[in-house]
């Protein structure tokens, strides 16, 4: 009797529990890490805009964000380092009706996988690429990455990073992406809406999500996770339709957020079918 009562007492589960592998939760992401929030926004967007969940799959590369593919309770694949986009390209071409999401980090997508990214954008593959940008290589111990801001301290740049970082929205736009947006994990509602818009449209969509990395990046730059969120709150400027060339990440003067590009172009598969008379 008491046992029965106990079972009814363990009440309802989290609304996203049907999309996550709950046996693997709590996940490995550090306390205060923003990947969990970005992942949760992605799941909400999937729930909102995909009717048939059997037709959705997630592909990740290596890194902290790469773990997402292991936590989602849908078809997913955790690829080798940097090769999330090539795998997703093959998946999309084999199953053109499938909604393929690439969820990975800045190091995976833009450092080792940089070439795959620009060529998928050039071909206009029908993918949704979500890049969690935590400004460093978090999983391997906080080394300087292609997105680490100038002067930021990391384990491989102890007196400050001498390099300039990538402007990811400009890179995506220049390579040919048809949807480019940037949000932070604090702007979760906008982020969810943006991902859900990207999922329901055709063409190569790229969404950059700024997320704090309190353990490896924050610790060396005197920035706790709540400080990062306060920085996002104070310094962010929402400018939809802003020129991607003007949205360099500038944590001193203002972080420009919004949907920068939303244009229509025929996708690779459409053009392929046309050229080969498959219609």
């Amino acid at each position: 009797m008491t046992g029965k009562k106990k079972q009814t007492d363990i009440t309802p589960a989290h609304p996203l529990d049907d999309l996550i592998r709950t046996d693997r939760i709590p996940h490995i992401w550090c306390p205060g890490c923003g990947i969990g929030t970005a992942f949760s926004a992605c799941l909400s967007a999937i729930k909102r805009s995909c009717e048939n969940l059997n037709n959705v799959s997630m592909v990740s590369g290596i890194g902290c964000s790469g773990r997402a593919a292991g936590y989602i309770k849908l078809d997913s694949f955790h690829t080798t380092h940097g090769r999330a986009i090539p795998f997703a390209t093959g998946l999309k071409l084999a199953k053109p009706d499938m909604n393929v999401i690439v969820f990975s980090g800045d190091g995976d997508l833009f450092a080792i996988g940089g070439n795959h990214f620009i060529h998928a954008a050039r071909r206009n593959m029908d993918l949704t690429v979500i890049c969690v940008n935590n400004l460093n290589y978090g999983m391997t111990g906080g080394q300087a990455a292609a997105t680490t801001p100038h002067k930021a301290k990391t384990t491989t740049s102890i007196s400050g990073n001498p390099e300039d970082p990538f402007n990811l929205p400009l890179l995506a736009y220049a390579a040919g992406a048809t949807y480019v947006a940037r949000w932070t994990i604090l702007h979760t509602r906008d982020l969810t809406e943006s991902i859900s818009e990207a999922l329901s449209r055709k063409g190569f969509s790229f969404i950059e999500v700024l997320a704090p990395c309190p353990i490896n990046y924050g610790r060396r730059n005197k920035e706790k996770s709540l400080d990062s969120l306060k920085l996002y709150q104070e310094k962010s400027i929402i400018k939809n339709g802003a020129d991607p060339a003007s949205v360099d990440l500038d944590f001193q003067n203002g972080i420009v957020l919004g949907t920068f590009v939303n244009r229509d172009k025929p996708t690779f598969y459409e053009k392929y079918k046309m050229i080969n008379g498959l219609d």
Binding site: D17, G32, S40, A41, T188, L226, L229
Partner: protein, 84 residues
Amino acid sequence: MDFWRVPLDAADVFVTKGVVHILEERCKGCGYCIEYCPKSILTFSSRFNKKGYHPPMLTGATDCVNCHYCEIICPEFAIYSVEA
């Protein structure tokens, strides 16, 4: 959210009510829900969970307006609200 005066149409506005559920064993104590709750009804509890973190607890359980912000900002899937 604190108002510096009661809005003139406060009596006419329908405010939703919610109940917050906290899955304490999943919490890693990042404090995002506590910091960004618009009604400031969450605080760190003195209890420890299995992993040694202090999960949040409710200070004004009846004040929740069911905005779901704690639910969507939580990186751990550890807190959510449902309509009362």
